[in-house]
């Protein structure tokens, strides 16, 4: 299954950070990783469109972490990777950025990195299934008393 690049960060964020960091550390030992900018963490102001008049407003702030790296192989292949995630761990963002570069450039390590993404997608899918069960179990159709389609009459 091909997973689009824009799906990778959310998939990797769904996994324990230790797993993502571990693979990034292993790959960092085999590849040259250069930070385009130092990984950093801070806040983002969340801009929402109001549902009544479609005006934008700020509902509050969210933690954000950002990293951008260039990964280079011994053979001279080079790829740029980045991560911008709703999280406050800059090093976690850097790990994702490394995997992003590795997968985007199909550099050595892209296979295990993509396997992590696949697993993250499965975790996300499972979470969504569980959330949908909250809806499935509570679908409601309020009928007036005495109406034929009153489900409680069945």
């Amino acid at each position: 299954m091909n997973v689009a690049r824009k799906e990778w960060p959310a998939a990797l964020c769904a996994l324990p950070a230790t797993e993502v960091k571990h693979l990034a550390n292993v790959l960092s030992g085999e590849l040259e990783v250069r930070d385009v900018a130092l990984p950093h963490a801070g806040l983002g102001l969340l801009n929402l469109r109001d549902g009544a008049f479609e005006e934008s407003y700020f509902i509050g702030e969210i933690p954000v972490a950002r990293a951008e790296v260039i990964v280079r192989t011994a053979g001279g292949l080079e790829e740029r990777g980045g991560a911008l995630i709703v999280d406050d761990r800059a090093q976690f963002a850097r790990s994702i950025a490394i995997l992003d570069a590795v997968m985007a450039g199909k550099l050595p390590g892209s296979v295990p990195a993509m396997a992590l993404v696949q697993r993250g997608m499965e975790v996300r899918q499972q979470k969504q299934i569980e959330r949908k069960k909250l809806l499935t179990a509570t679908r409601v159709d309020f009928s007036l008393l005495g109406q034929e389609d009153d489900e409680d009459e069945e």
Binding site: R5, K6, L43, L48, F53, Y57, L84, I85, L135, T136
Partner: protein
Amino acid sequence: MSYVAIKGGKAAIDGAAAATDYLRCKGSLDEPLTLAMIEEQLRLLTSRVVSEGGLYHPRLAALALKQFQGDTLEAAFALRAYRSTKPRLLETPVQDTANMRCIRRISSAFKEVPGGQYLGATYDYALRLLQLDLANEDPAAFKAVAQSFLQDTPDSEVPDNFPKVIDALRAEGLLPPVTPSRAAAFDITRDPLVFPVPRSAALATMARSETGGLLAMAYSNMRGYGDVHPTVAELRVGYLPVMLPHPVTGELMEAGEVLVTECEVVAMYEGTNGDELPTFTLGYGACFGHNEVKAISMAILDRALQKGMQDGPTNPSEDPEFVLLHVDGVDSMGFASHYKMPHYVTFQSDMDRLRTTQQKMQQQDTEATA
């Protein structure tokens, strides 16, 4: 009146901190509360703190609740203090709540809505009777609750997203048309409220307001100091994907998600001066976390404030200055709490003036009777 500095009391203040922590730890429990326990089992409490703190960080909200022993005002204060130490990295692109992954979605305005209504997790129809078996809950039974719910509930084809209920009303011409606004949203964390303020400032202020304060203002309108008479067109709770540009490609990608409660109310219709047909009026509310009372209260007040801004306020809940300057929990708690600090210099002054006044009056009485 001016403030004066005080000194001394360091040992007592240190002792107060130790005493507070003693009370947190002295209970019969062997284990301290974990943050996951607070975040998951007291999820609605955590929700209050993330929204009133104005920072969506449930884990830190749980930590703040633990540290301040369940005091939501202090916990929100701590979250605000934390955020003030962090750099602002970005403003997100405008996010569309139609993308919300709902875990609850209802409308009181219609029997059926496109996509269906789902009660989700709610106490709305529960009896408010104490569930005494929770007092000594068996850990195995506790774990089995979640497992059996997932096992017993079939998978179904529920859509990922739902259309907005008010879109159908708008398509039918029953709501005012949307006029795209290019105005930048007001940032209440950087700019003070100087009245009149744009609606985006009102929405942002109410989104991080204290739940009880906001409810009290909205309740005054509901009871009669106002005439919004709302009908909930839609109330939804769900996870909103946060879309941010990829640092390399610039393409929007899902960077994370936040739990949000959102409510749109349809209020009394109003006529127009021109040839346009009358339409219902609207109010909107939303906040971080799962907090329905807050979102509904905000939606009612949004409508009340629109009316007040347009026609001039006739009730307190229609007065932007009255509402927006009195609903913030950290502000109001801070003011109330400051009265506990030493005020003896100003109070000595008050006593001196009172004694002098009394003496003068007694002297006048004496002279009058002499």
